[in-house]
Symmetry: C2
Subunit: 429 residues, 2 copies
């Protein structure tokens, strides 16, 4: 058995502790696989934190200065599990410059500064891995980079935010309102007290930026992802979708049309027969359409200390293998293509439109005329409940472009007394 | 761009042609990824086959002797897509001895002679890959070998035979009988005219031998897998299971208890809320339970020319990377543990028992006594239809060992007038 590879942790919260647990619990298997022990020798914490018990249990040294880790010649790999942009970004850059390999699970950082950090790692001939940044326990990045390297991916559709999937599951199966579902998710620790990043789709958008890079080799920015969350989603629309055979899910997607891509996050009506409709509670899943394999899906926990830590340790093992082979500086995803975004007039989908209109003769004719003028047909129309004054009408359209949808929305606003309560994409079966 | 890596095909049926298609369709992406072109230059066919059109389309030479491929110094990698044991086994061994790397999708061969061939490859310092041998389009072997190397797998449960999953889907959703479902599968080309390997669970058992090696590092033989197929499965039992909230699936499983494993194939009642219950038609899925990640599932097509060929090409690309790095002779799965099988008295499960008993007072008491004597409780009991003479009774038991099940079966046979029509395991939710 060779001498141990030593690791420094930046941060010692639940995920950092999870890394110590996984390394300890699966020690034998890990050693057999990489041919040497893997040991965390130091962890960087804030002076205000008390982590003495953990340090003693796992036999590691607590430090308060980054230099104590990155200037330690014994340490080969640094694991960043602090989260947020700064000081994580500076720390990772410093670690790479000091010749350390880096593993991180920091999706916010990677979505916003991933290219920069990947280039720095490449220049420094060091490895930067971040499997845990997308769908914690699902090895989706490695699968795309390795197994799907022989394939031509056309679309990636993911349930990549556990909080909102938990809430939507409750809204669908227990007819909970949005507010009650959010409160329950917060009580169970699935949602933070400020749920903005989750419910407004920002967390899912970070992941779609990273997935777009792996699936299509294109580097897009957060403001190039169309993002809509589930905040205020009406339970009436959820149950109307249900009665039409669909389950509402917050779907992150990145799709290739010709040589351009379009990435977005939003609530989508998923046909009940589609595998993504069966992903319940806080679980995540990534569904891939490709020319060779056709349809495949990867399912697992999207977060949690042990699943995330397991992905981090898999990255550590990959780096140890590469150190042993002397293959340093390869990017996690080597695939690059010129970045090109799909124009709104080339981006087609079926849509679910939920409208409130005066309960009077001739109203529906107005809607039909607007749709006909835009060149769009109806696939399904359902008249919902009426209070005598207002009627709720739900429409599922045939395929239309984003430009056509914008025209229809404008016409409805200008020419009718309708309220367009919601519009959501409808996934094909 | 470096000079092309050349490949020889053994066999040019649908999968072999699929390899040519994928290499041609995804040529740019593949070249970018591995830094050189990948070209099939020769294919071995039988003299009676006419493949001239394919050879012309893909610019390759047809040969009738193995030596034309393995003695060609230009060829680095041989892809075996002939199927069956011989001559495939001899050909692969000859290719390895001649210094070629080998990719194969041959599950029968790998399940029965995999260790021998892996050792030969290792001795010859050549690489042997076979991702496509289990669940064609699902990269499950690579995922277990790489991403789950940091994890401790406790159980692998798979729907790994598309033919039987198609038949069972029809039996559940359209109440088809076994015979009608088989006939339809044959008409659609999902089942062969002799469906033995599929319906009797043999094909799935091959895959469980390979998965046991990857998940637990243990080498088991086919006769160590307990195999039961779905031949003659009664639609009454399928619908009885359905009414109790379960879907009958042919499940291949390999499970660790302490330091021993137990591998089997058989029809199982899967709770409708379990992700495996939603795997429909000819699709495959492999569900993994592990200490770190918890639960994950990998879903995709189990067969088909293009999905299988995509996995083969991913293997080819892995080998090219290894040739470039000079890391030759590593096994696809390096994980090895002493092989130990779980004793029947330590292998526990809930069971579904379907019985026919005389429709007379006191009969059920007899069953209750047998169960009580064996120390087994009922979880659910359903009295089905009666024709006045015979009543059909279905029982779901609490956990019992295989030894206890054998005792109960013996007692029923010796002490009652019941017919035990079926017994199937029941998966926990």
């Amino acid at each position: 058995m060779e001498k141990p590879v030593k690791v420094g942790l930046l941060g010692l919260g639940v995920v950092g502790t999870g890394v110590l647990e996984i390394l300890s619990d699966h020690q034998n298997k890990i050693e057999k696989s990489i041919g040497c022990p893997l040991a965390v020798t130091k962890a960087l914490i804030r002076p205000t934190e008390d982590k003495a018990a953990i340090a003693e249990k796992y036999d590691l040294q607590l430090v308060h200065e980054l230099s104590d880790i990155i200037e330690d010649p014994e340490i080969d790999i640094v694991v960043e599990v602090m989260g947020r942009i700064e000081p994580a970004k500076t720390f990772i850059a410093e670690a790479l410059k000091a010749g350390k390999h880096v593993v991180t699970a920091n999706k916010d950082l990677l979505a916003q500064h991933g290219s920069e950090l990947a280039s720095l790692a490449h220049e420094q001939k060091r490895n930067l891995y971040y499997e845990a940044s997308v769908a914690g326990g699902i090895p989706i990045l490695r699968t795309i980079a390795n197994s799907l390297a022989a394939d031509d991916i056309t679309e990636v559709l993911g349930i990549v935010n556990g909080t909102t999937n938990y809430m939507l599951t409750k809204m669908v199966t227990e007819q909970m309102s949005y507010d009650v579902a959010l409160k329950q998710a917060q009580e169970l620790g699935f949602a933070e007290s400020d749920p903005t990043n989750d419910v407004d789709g920002i967390d899912a958008a970070y992941k779609m930026v990273i997935l777009s890079k792996f699936a299509f080799g294109m580097t897009i920015t957060m403001d190039q992802v169309k993002v809509k969350g589930i905040r205020g989603l009406a339970s009436e629309d959820v149950s109307m979708a249900d009665s039409l055979g669909y389950t509402v899910k917050l779907i992150g997607s990145t799709k290739k049309t010709g040589d351009s891509i379009s990435a977005e996050v939003g609530p989508v009506l998923v046909p009940n027969t589609h595998p993504l409709a069966s992903i319940h509670n806080e679980f995540n899943a990534v569904f891939v359409k490709s020319s060779g394999i056709g349809e495949s899906m990867y399912y697992g926990p999207g977060a949690g200390a042990r699943p995330t830590a397991t992905s981090i340790v898999a990255d550590l093992m990959t780096i140890v293998n590469k150190i042993q082979l002397g293959t340093l500086g390869h990017r996690f995803s080597e695939y690059t293509q010129p970045t090109k975004l799909t124009a709104p007039e080339e981006s087609f989908s079926k849509y679910f439109l939920s409208l409130e209109m005066p309960d009077e003769t001739g109203q529906f004719l107005q809607l039909a005329e607007i749709m006909a003028n835009a060149g769009v047909g109806f696939e399904q129309v359902v008249q919902g409940k009426s209070d005598g004054k207002k009627a709720r009408v739900v429409v599922i359209t045939h395929q239309l472009s984003e430009t056509m949808l914008a025209t229809i929305k404008k016409e409805i606003a200008e020419k009718t007394n309708f309220d367009l309560l919601a519009s959501m994409k409808v996934m094909e079966g």
